[in-house]
């Protein structure tokens, strides 16, 4: 943290590359790194996914608990989404209580899922007013190689679409697939060398500025947005990245579709 010399040199290098529309790893400005998505990979989770996105590795696991419903929604289940940015993931992460970075990641992923309305909460009622399912989604980052937000968002929706409600184990009926009707996808843009690029890697994040994350739903509507880190952007810049986001969201949604049935 306190060594600011490397980032300054890195910033200069990134600025020079940007002038000739280049990136440090050779990608185009809107190009994505290689992705691998596995689902159903965790023995004790009711739904799971592993995303390998460049050098980033993230697991998402879904568990279920039975809870009393909220007073104002007696026949609706609920969703809890946690993220753990634990020291396993990078040299820079310390142990201790959840960092602001960790909390932000979890809340942004949560909003993208929740606001899309993709989970049919009415389908998670066991006894109205008494017992409903709480879906607990945990994001577990094992290697931070940059762009955690998009990788976490992808792991989250893939794990949910892979999940089975364990009704039999809890003695409340037969198991059934968690009803997930939509596939919200997050795309993140970062200012690197003065311009916004898609899917920044670790070095680009270290030498870059602000980050803008957008979650788009199946119809192209926006469900969540988050600007983070120091820096500003303008409305025309936002319009430009929203076009790029739409294209990537479509492709990533197809990837998820191809892995879950």
């Amino acid at each position: 943290m306190s060594t600011q010399t490397v980032p300054q040199l890195l910033r200069q290098q990134l600025a020079i590359l940007a002038e000739s529309d280049q990136r440090i790893d050779g990608r185009g400005r809107w190009e994505m790194r290689d992705i691998d998505l596995e689902v159903g990979c965790l023995y004790n989770a009711e739904g799971s996914a592993k995303v390998t996105w460049g050098d980033t590795v993230i697991y998402a696991g879904v568990k279920f608990e039975i809870r009393t419903p909220y007073d104002d929604r007696p026949a609706q289940g609920s969703l809890m989404c946690g993220s753990e940015l634990r020291p396993v993931a990078h040299r820079k992460y310390d142990p201790g209580p959840p960092s602001p970075e960790s909390i932000e990641l979890g809340r942004v992923v949560d909003r993208g899922i929740r606001e899309s309305g993709c989970i049919d909460m009415a389908n998670l009622c066991i006894v109205p007013g008494e017992k409903v399912w709480m879906v607990v989604l945990d994001i577990h980052v094992l290697s931070d190689g940059g762009n955690l937000f998009d990788a976490a968002g992808l792991a989250a929706i893939a794990a949910l679409r892979n999940a089975t409600v364990p009704a039999a184990r809890f003695d409340v009926g037969e198991d059934y697939q968690l009803p997930v009707s939509l596939t919200p996808i997050m795309t993140t843009f970062t200012r690197v060398g003065g311009r916004l690029v898609y899917d920044a890697n670790e070095e680009e994040e270290l030498g870059g500025d602000e980050r803008v994350s957008v979650t788009l739903g199946d119809t192209g509507a926006m469900h969540s947005m988050q600007k983070g880190l120091k820096g500003t952007f303008t409305p025309p810049e936002l319009a430009e990245i929203l076009d790029v986001a739409a294209e990537h969201c479509k492709n990533l949604r197809e990837l998820v579709d191809s892995k879950v049935n």
């Binding site: 943290m1 306190s2 060594t3 600011q4 010399t5 300054q8 959840p98 602001p100 970075e101 909390i103 932000e104 979890g106 809340r107 909003r111 929740r114 606001e115 309305g117 602000e210 803008v212 739903g217 192209g220 509507a221 926006m222 469900h223 969540s224 947005m225 988050q226 600007k227 983070g228 880190l229 120091k230 820096g231 500003t232 952007f233 303008t234 409305p235 936002l238 319009a239 929203l242």
Partner: protein, 243 residues
């Protein structure tokens, strides 16, 4: 966003339940220099929201590991007083307030000339005394004035303002009912002089057209608040502590 649909939020004449036009803000009142112990401070009342911000610094950043070699650290805390909401809030930070503190700090760091104060720290304490809806925006508006009141050099003031969607209509500055039963919320932090966006969040459901309208409304509201910010700072220097 909360429930959808069955709550009526617009009148038949297109105005809102409290009589505002769809692109009209709640009343806003701003004062600078309200806390004697602080290096800079501001009070903002926006609708029924009330926020007070104290700024301390620049001061030495300790422990040393939080120091940045080439700039000041903005140490921002957004806190809701226990009595600021309908149900009492347990004191202490929660996940929501930590996230708001983080993104607010990042927004402010985008306008403060932090490079002027390497290795130092500037503390910004945002206290919400009464909450209606949109407290994070009110906190940003007040923080900008308090920073200026403390004499911290900035590229521009920053204004917090939100737009949203109710009954499929984009509106400026959601009040509490609109926030609870509306379809989308878009809080922004705008630098009116340059047209830059330093803070932005959104949740709910917005088409691209709706998003553009919402952004347009926010910029319009920001321009008005900007004038109030400048007037409060002018009052402060003209009249001393305006408490």
């Amino acid at each position: 966003m909360g429930g959808y649909g069955d709550v009526k939020l617009l009148n038949d004449d297109g105005t809102r339940l409290d009589g505002r036009a769809i692109d009209e803000m709640r009343p806003v009142e701003i004062r600078a220099g309200v806390l004697p112990a602080a290096d800079g401070s501001a009070y903002v009342k926006h609708g029924l929201n009330e926020a007070i911000v104290a700024v301390y610094g620049p001061m030495e950043a300790h422990p040393r590991r939080i120091q940045l070699q080439d700039q000041a650290v903005l140490d921002v805390r957004y806190n809701m007083a226990p009595f600021s909401t309908s149900d009492r809030i347990r004191p202490g930070f929660n996940r929501r307030s930590r996230e708001i503190s983080k993104v607010t700090a990042e927004a402010l760091a985008s306008v403060v000339l932090v490079e002027r104060y390497p290795r130092s720290k500037i503390r910004v304490e945002i206290e919400i005394l009464s909450a209606e809806a949109g407290t994070r925006c009110v906190g940003i508006t007040a923080a900008a004035v308090a920073l200026a009141d403390a004499g911290i050099p900035m590229r521009d003031l920053i204004v917090g303002v939100a737009a949203g969607k109710v009954e499929d209509t984009v509106v400026l500055d959601l009040d509490k009912a609109e926030d609870n039963y509306g379809q989308a919320d878009l809080p922004m932090g705008i630098m009116p002089a340059t047209g830059e966006i330093a803070f932005m969040q959104m949740d709910g459901d917005l088409s691209m057209d709706e998003l553009n309208t919402a952004i347009e409304y926010c910029f319009k509201g920001a321009a008005d608040i900007y004038e109030l910010q400048k007037a409060a700072l002018k009052d402060r220097y003209d009249g001393g502590v305006s408490q």
